[in-house]
Amino acid sequence: MKKLTLLISGTVLAILVASCDKSQVTNRISGITSEDDSLAGVNVAAGETSGPFMKLFVLNEGKMGTDNASLDFFRYSNGRYCRNTFKMMNPDISLGLGDVGNDIKVWKNTVWMTINNSGIVEVINAINEKHLASITVPSCRNIAFYGDYAYVTSYSGAVYGGNDIKGAVYKIYIGTMSVVDSVHVGYQPEGIAEYGGKLYVANGGGFHTGYDNTLTILDPEGGSETENLEIAGNLKDVYANENGDIWISALGDYYSVHSGLYHVDGTTNTLISRSKALEDVRVSCMTMNAAGVVYVIGTDDEWNWKGPRKYNLYTIQPGGDLVKTEFTSDMDAITTPYSICEDFYNGNIYIGDAGDCLNPGKIYCLNRDLELLWSTTAGVDPGHMILYSPYYGI
């Protein structure tokens, strides 16, 4: 979904949504048949065929070392939630999807997933989840697309310095689905986003050098590092909207520095000083919708180890307006919010709850007033979600 933002300008998007007759979209989407129609799943909601989306994909990270990363989806046409769909649609792939799913992105009618501990970027057909390619990227983390290329951050790079190793961004040519280049960035890079022809890479660090606090700005054409911007320690996610708002989360050090949200102006590549309200934002997980609105879940009780913790939902409009909403009683059951996704079409919010991180987690669907519409069991650690529409791919 974030990808869509990068691909389509807001104007195009608005025109598309406005010009499409709803029923027309519906008919076209429900007219698509897929081999995965055989997956019945569980009925969680009345069909929401009015939207432009065909599926909500959920990548469950799984427990490290047990090879149980899994891909679920919610099928809008009949309101059914199907689990473990990669394995069901690709039973002949040895050991399944792999170990620890770390990111999921959509490119046209393909879905790209980084399977971190397998060293694989798995590309599947978004319509039927059939395997298309496995691209080797050791210790891969997150994906962004720009032009004809996919860019994947990786902890693994070729620059060694004693015990330290700088991470890299791998450049994959989509036409051949093969790695064509890699360029080193900071330590243990995590999130990556594109704005104005530049890639913004959040370096997390944490192995041997303490935490990295830099945002690397790369020129994907020249393949070189153009700038390093100091933000805060232990950076995690990066999202960019078409106005040049770059939003970056930092996890803090878990005992003396809180997690936080940072704002960089992509037109000037400068860190914007934070308002008091923004300084108080805590980040457990975040996302940006196709209209550039940022959604963050965080808790003020970060160092209250034993819990219970009260979570908040923060929404930040492209203009910077920040609204903090406490979790409603409908959301009390959410113990470990691990991923969030917003359907800009109807305002529904999806939250992935990892629970105890060993048992299968849950997906909660809430309307824009944060009233529970449905919830269902997902895979282990539902950490990443993305919406897919066959008509929004270009």
Binding site: K87, D99, C357
Partner: protein, 702 residues
């Protein structure tokens, strides 16, 4: 605080010594209808059999032993330990794979391992790798599931929830000989090559020694299958079945050990020195891996050493004492090699663990019915590591134990209590965020009482009953407490209540024919279990005392033995063991793993071992079966571990080179066929065990 407790323990010890001296004076000449074993002997096994001789033919407290002959014939110590009922041997597979024991589902941290009565301590993670001891030396293995009925044990042994006693045997020389030399070579699957030699020598009468050294080298490579099938809607199946090779499981290890055994006028002493040096690959869990990524290249180096000694003096019929010491050092280096394996992160972690141990035990026979064992131990542990923010924990643990034994003809009662205090100190630096919170230095206390009885109805020759109730604990390990960012220095001891009853039927229908049936039923309740849980973020896990478990278990053992001469009439024995364990997680009623079976415990498991010895030939068949289990108390298909059954056959032929039965030159040829059914199985999720494999050994003794 430390000092006070130290003084207290010291005074207890003095007090007990005073009492014991008095008892000795007043009761010195008491006749002893029930012998409490005063004869010097360093072998625990033999001593135990003497103790249990109180009621002829019936073991008083139930513990289980593996016959030393069998231990010697099996390829290694861990293979012998597998034969016990009520245990799970957690085996990561291959020659170099970690092997730990979990007794009655309490957790491997509760299982204390003793070598010649002195504990093997790993303060870092409280797990002892059983793959590091050789059956060249270790011939006696005894499992004590609840309480130790022996005399003059260390206080730690009295407090132990469950223990495995490994013991060396004193060299025995044939008439007129003062030296024995054994050379052994073993080789087979996984390119394993393992030579060893043993030299035994009697220096003077009463003092003998042994020197043993061995080397093991193995590529650790083996093939294994991975398969998964799903049923399609049209009834057909699709899936995969792939053969892969376990790589980076190589090991080379060198081990050298020496023992000295001596007698004093009224007692004996022994010392034991051990050095183990190994370098191995860590193959890691089998997960999907990009086909063009190089193999894993994580390595581990270990250098373990210890020296220990024990002196036992049987001063009189009334009073005996024992003193033991141990000094140990373990070095562990874990390193990755990202230049060779880009999938790994750079790590070169070095850990240095140092331990010192001192123990005094007394045994006082107060009357013909009552004896008291007292023991006081002090253990020091220190851990160093080259990790960022490491806090260099040190721990002094003091144990004091009083064990009463009442022998009332047909009723035998143990009333023990152990008190333990552990003082931790750690460095508080700017970066030392142990647990991210508590900064105070911790003192932990634990009280461990035991009441057990054995009853042998006088009217029955064959039957006996036993029962016990015990409270045990385990200290949090250094990793639980101080591991950077994960540890929680506020942790308390984990506690376990153990209850059980048992019955035994021993019958010898013929002079040489023995039959033994044993059944034990028990319940363990574990509280404040130390578990790691994620906190506000998946990226930040911390240890908490929040686990609860209830374990209902039953063990049924049946064995038969026919003591043939082994020459013309074959000797044979067979033992069938069944274990039931309903090990339930009661931690969090709100969690879906509530009431799940706790990790790695099958509901049903069992073993069958059979042995035939005839005319220099010896055959041992060992079969194991294990039901379905899970790697997490979340009993979901993702963590399911398939049931499995394996069988091993070990053949040994001994040939005397110089004839007439008087010769000292012997050759023993051995063949071990392991996993006869070529079962593809896992004990630990993601760590496949080897299929069919073999080894051949040749031993020359002169």
């Amino acid at each position: 605080m430390n000092k006070t407790a130290g003084c207290l323990l010291f005074s207890i010890q003095i007090f007990l010594l005073t009492i014991s001296a008095k008892a000795w004076e007043t009761q010195g000449s008491d006749s002893r209808p029930y012998d409490f074993a005063v004869t010097p002997d360093s072998s625990l096994i033999i001593r135990e059999s003497r103790i249990t001789a109180g009621i002829p033919g019936k073991k008083l407290m139930y513990s289980d032993t593996i016959p030393s002959g069998l231990v010697k014939r099996l390829p290694n110590v861990a293979d012998a330990i597998r034969l016990f009922s009520g245990i799970q041997l957690k085996d990561y597979g291959g020659i170099g794979g970690l092997k730990t024991i979990n007794i009655r589902s309490l957790g491997s941290e509760y299982a204390d391992i003793f070598i010649d009565g002195i504990p093997v301590v790993n303060a870092q993670n409280m797990q002892v790798d059983l793959g590091r001891f050789s059956n060249d030396i270790i011939n006696g293995i005894r499992l004590s599931e609840v309480c130790n009925p022996e005399d003059l044990l260390t206080a730690k042994a009295y407090s132990s929830a469950a223990s495995v006693f490994l013991s060396s045997t004193k060299p025995v020389f044939k008439q007129g000989r003062t030296s024995d030399f054994r050379m052994k070579i073993r080789g087979g699957s996984f390119d394993t090559f393992s030579p060893s030699f043993t030299l035994e020598h009697m220096f003077v009468k009463g003092i003998s020694g042994r020197l043993n050294a061995g080397f093991v080298s193995s590529s650790g490579k083996y093939k294994f299958h991975e398969s998964k099938w799903i049923k399609n809607s049209n009834g057909t199946y699709s899936g995969y079945d792939t053969t892969m090779t376990r790589k980076n499981g190589d090991i080379s290890s060198f081990r050298t050990e020496g023992q000295l055994y001596g007698n004093t006028k009224k007692g004996n002493w022994n010392t034991y020195a051990y050095y183990y040096d190994s370098e191995r690959g860590l193959p890691g869990a089998v997960v999907r891996r990009a086909s063009d990524l190089p193999d894993k290249a994580d390595r581990q180096t270990d250098k373990d050493m210890f020296i220990q000694g024990k002196l036992t003096e049987y001063i009189s019929n009334v009073y005996s004492l024992s003193a033991s010491f141990k000094l140990s050092h373990e070095y562990l280096r874990y390193m990755t090699n990202p230049e060779s394996d880009p999938q790994s992160m750079p790590a070169d972690n070095k850990y240095n663990q140092t331990g010192a141990y001192l123990s005094f035990s007394n045994r006082i026979r107060i009357s013909r019915f009552w004896k008291i064992n007292t023991a006081a131990d002090i253990q020091y542990d220190r851990l160093g590591a080259n990790l960022t923010g490491f806090v260099y924990p040190r721990r002094v643990t003091e144990y004091a134990a009083v064990a009463n034994t009442f022998n009332l003809k047909s009723l035998y009662i143990n009333l023990n209590c152990t008190y333990t205090i552990a003082y931790d100190k750690f460095k508080n630096g700017a970066s030392s965020q142990a647990g991210g919170f508590a900064k105070s230095n911790g003192t932990r206390k634990a009280f461990s009482p035991l009441l057990s009885f054995s009853y042998a109805p006088p009217e029955s020759e064959c039957l006996s009953f036993t029962g016990f109730v015990k409270k045990s604990y385990r200290m949090p390990s250094f990793n639980d407490l101080y591991y950077t960012l994960v540890g929680n220095s506020n942790l308390e001891c984990e506690k376990a209540w153990q209850y059980g009853i048992g019955g035994k039927y021993l019958k010898s229908p013929g002079a040489k024919f023995h039959l033994e049936n044993k059944i034990e039923i028990y319940y363990n309740s574990v509280k404040d279990k130390i578990v790691a849980i994620p906190t506000f973020s998946q990226f930040r896990w911390t240890m908490f005392n929040i686990g609860k478990a209830g374990i209902t278990g039953a063990e049924i053992n049946t064995s038969v033995r026919y003591d043939g001469t082994g020459k013309r009439i074959p000797a044979f024995g067979a033992s069938l063991k069944y274990t039931f364990q309903k090990a339930t997680d009661y931690s969090d009623p709100g969690n879906s793993s509530y009431k799940g079976q706790i990790p790695y415990i099958p509901l049903h498991s069992g073993s069958l071992s059979a042995n035939v010895g005839w005319n220099g030939w010896n055959a041992d068949l060992c079969l194991f079966i294990s039901g379905k289990k899970w790697s997490s108390s979340a009993n979901i298909p993702d963590y399911e571990i398939e049931p499995w059954k394996t069988g091993d056959l070990h053949l040994v032929k001994e040939i005397e080179i110089t004839g007439n039965g008087k010769g000292h030159q012997r050759i023993a040829i051995g063949l071990s066929l392991n996993n006869l059914f070529n079962e593809q199985y896992e004990i630990v999720q993601g760590y496949p065990m080897p299929g069919f494999n073999y080894s051949i050994s040749l031993e020359y003794r002169f």
